[in-house]
């Protein structure tokens, strides 16, 4: 894993442990919790984008599947939240596998378009009024000789599952037994400990045989194949990992906010995740952490500009991308190596 990364993980762990003690305001903790949820998605996306070199503008779709699985199974069926989260992960694996197998054969802008389309289809499915679907199924059932009113009654519970454009509320908090995660600081520890684990796992993955193979794919896919790397299943696998990360983030989001609606899972959100990874630095998983922290806290720090905040947000993003092409982590690395070479000369 490398000494630098271990030190990095320890520093992050200490910061996570100390933050709620220093910042007791629930408002800042909430902001940090949202940053953490985005961070989980970004870690997965960073593996896909920065290491395997495959772009995805559909992460919000996987985020949505995770959130809706948690919401629907706990609210409508009364399942245990952890079980619902697991269902979300499994669903996401299946969707990512089915979608990824043909999609990842595409390259560049075509891949971007395909993932964008899939994210949008999931969004449309969340917005759609399920009444249309249930009446369709009812017609099919009647056509097969079923009794219309009985079919209606059987399908009734499904017509309100997603809540359509307005979403639904009342998602129970996460918990183990009697102990429930409800306070912002409890959420903070839960979310950020999961991130620490995810970071450790990702760093381990990157510094393994698979990680090296992924970077070879990024460099040149044909060359990687010539070196004996079976690129297709590897790309699909890393796509599934990124979907799982987004799924866990989605489940946490659902239980943390206790309300979900399709507005949280749009293309703009997919693009925002991409931007977070790019701002932090694509070539490094640490970039995902830095990028999501900055982009999630930036709107808060720009409140100072009142109505101009969206403009300032755009300008900051523009300047970062213009002058720090490899992101903030990349800039820091370059400054450090530059400084070291100057000192040792």
């Amino acid at each position: 894993m490398g000494r630098g990364n271990i030190i990095g993980l320890i520093v992050l762990a200490v910061l996570v442990a100390v933050f709620p003690l220093v910042m007791t305001s629930p408002y800042y903790l909430r902001v940090m919790n949202f940053a953490g949820i985005y961070c989980m998605i970004c870690i997965g996306l960073s593996l896909l984008l920065g290491y395997a070199g495959q772009i995805s503008i559909g992460q919000a779709g996987f985020f949505a599947i995770g959130a809706y699985s948690s919401g629907i199974f706990t609210v409508h069926f009364g399942w245990n939240p952890w079980l619902a989260m697991l269902v979300g992960i499994v669903l996401n694996c299946i969707v990512a596998f089915i979608v990824g197998t043909p999609t990842l054969k595409l390259r560049g802008h075509y891949l971007a378009m395909a993932t964008l389309g899939i994210g949008e289809i999931i969004h449309v499915a969340a917005v759609a009024d399920l009444e249309d679907f249930t009446s369709l199924f009812q017609k099919v059932a009647v056509w097969f000789g079923a009794d219309a009113t009985k079919a209606r009654a059987a399908l009734e519970p499904f017509s309100e599952l997603t809540g359509g454009p307005s979403g639904f509320a009342g998602i129970p908090p996460l918990g183990i037994g009697a102990w429930q995660v409800s306070e912002p600081w409890q959420w903070f520890y839960l979310i950020w400990i999961v991130i620490l684990v995810a970071m450790a796992l990702s760093l381990n993955l990157i510094h393994s045989r698979i990680g090296r193979a992924l970077r070879a794919i990024h460099g040149n896919e044909e060359a990687a194949r010539a070196m004996g790397i079976n690129t297709a299943p590897l790309k699909v696998r890393i796509f599934i990992i990124s979907a799982v990360a987004a799924s866990i983030a989605g489940s946490f989001y659902a239980h943390f906010v206790t309300f979900i609606s399709p507005d949280t899972f749009t293309i703009n959100d997919s693009i925002l995740f991409l931007v977070m990874v790019a701002v932090g630095g694509m070539m490094n998983v640490w970039g995902a952490v830095v990028g999501s922290l900055i982009m999630a806290t930036l709107p808060e720090s720009l409140r100072f500009f009142h109505d101009y905040d969206i403009l300032m947000y755009g300008l900051v993003l523009l300047l970062i991308m213009m002058f720090m092409p490899d992101g903030i982590v990349g800039l820091v690395t370059r400054l450090r190596t530059g400084l070291v070479s100057k000192l040792t000369r």
Partner: protein, 356 residues
Amino acid sequence: MDLGTILQYVFSGITVGAVYAMVGLGFTMIYNSTSIINLAQGEFVMLGGLIGVSSVGLFKSWGLPPYAAIPMGFVIALAGTTLVGLLIEKVAIEPTDRLTIFHYGGIAVVLYGLARIVGEVSVPVAVVIAAVLSAAAYWLLRNTSVPSMKNPSVLQLVIITVAISIVLRGIAMFVFGKNPYFMQHFLGEDPIRILGATVLPQTVLIVAVIIVVVVIVGLFYAFTMTGKAMQACSFNRQIAKLMGINDRKMILLSFGMSAMVGAVAGYLVTPITLMDYDRGPMLALKGFGAAVLGGLGNGYGAVVAGFTLGILEGLGTGLISSGYKDAISLIILLAVLFYRPSGLFGSTEAAKLKEF
């Protein structure tokens, strides 16, 4: 379901499809010269519409009759949006490739302005502040950013265009407000009857103008020296440069032209669809779909695919449900992509050669 109803859906699809076609064509122009997907393309349409509506309103308030105000508004909308397109290239795209004395000069002027307006300091102090800070910026950029800024990655440039679209939307929100703008139909609102369906004269005008634009663009690429130079850049920028073509000038031109094409679409559809500051992203998405479906880099393909997407959406809205229209067009798009990864009219070999 009779023919008239279906034809009606097709006509409404053609109106939307015309905009997708123009956005797709604009995408193609910039893609060919830079391999960037310009996600601010939808903002050009929005700006064309909004600048047009406001200037037409202004001309009318001066007492000009509509037949004079509408063409003048068209010219202003095109000129204004083209200027924005050129400015974007100069300010945000060119610096990723090279920083000239003009860019540092620009930084100095902006710092001077900020010091005067925000800091409210006297002229000599502002000059000193601007000089010191721009010198610092020069040193910082030389030592940190510039070495890595050669060969900007495509993803970096695409995200820059995302940032540009946010900035443009922010500016438009302040200049034009959040409410949608109305504009009168150019040729009146009496519908034309065709086979039991009705068409607005505006729709006919849109289709006619778009055919004219496509023909002009095609002629420009085929018969002018500049057009050929732009094509050479799209095939291989390095070799075009060695042949003495000023590649930065071609990129600048492609941004200007694609902004102009977007503005034409925006100005023409505003009477039918209204226009507000937040219209861009969805248009960019659909135009991107059209450009990809047509085979990236193929202008005619993008136009045909744009109309196809629009008509499919129109039919989907009418025959199935308006809620699913986006999903329908996207599912068809994905099906085509999986079956033909280089788009309907793109060449498979050309797709392999593109760097991104």
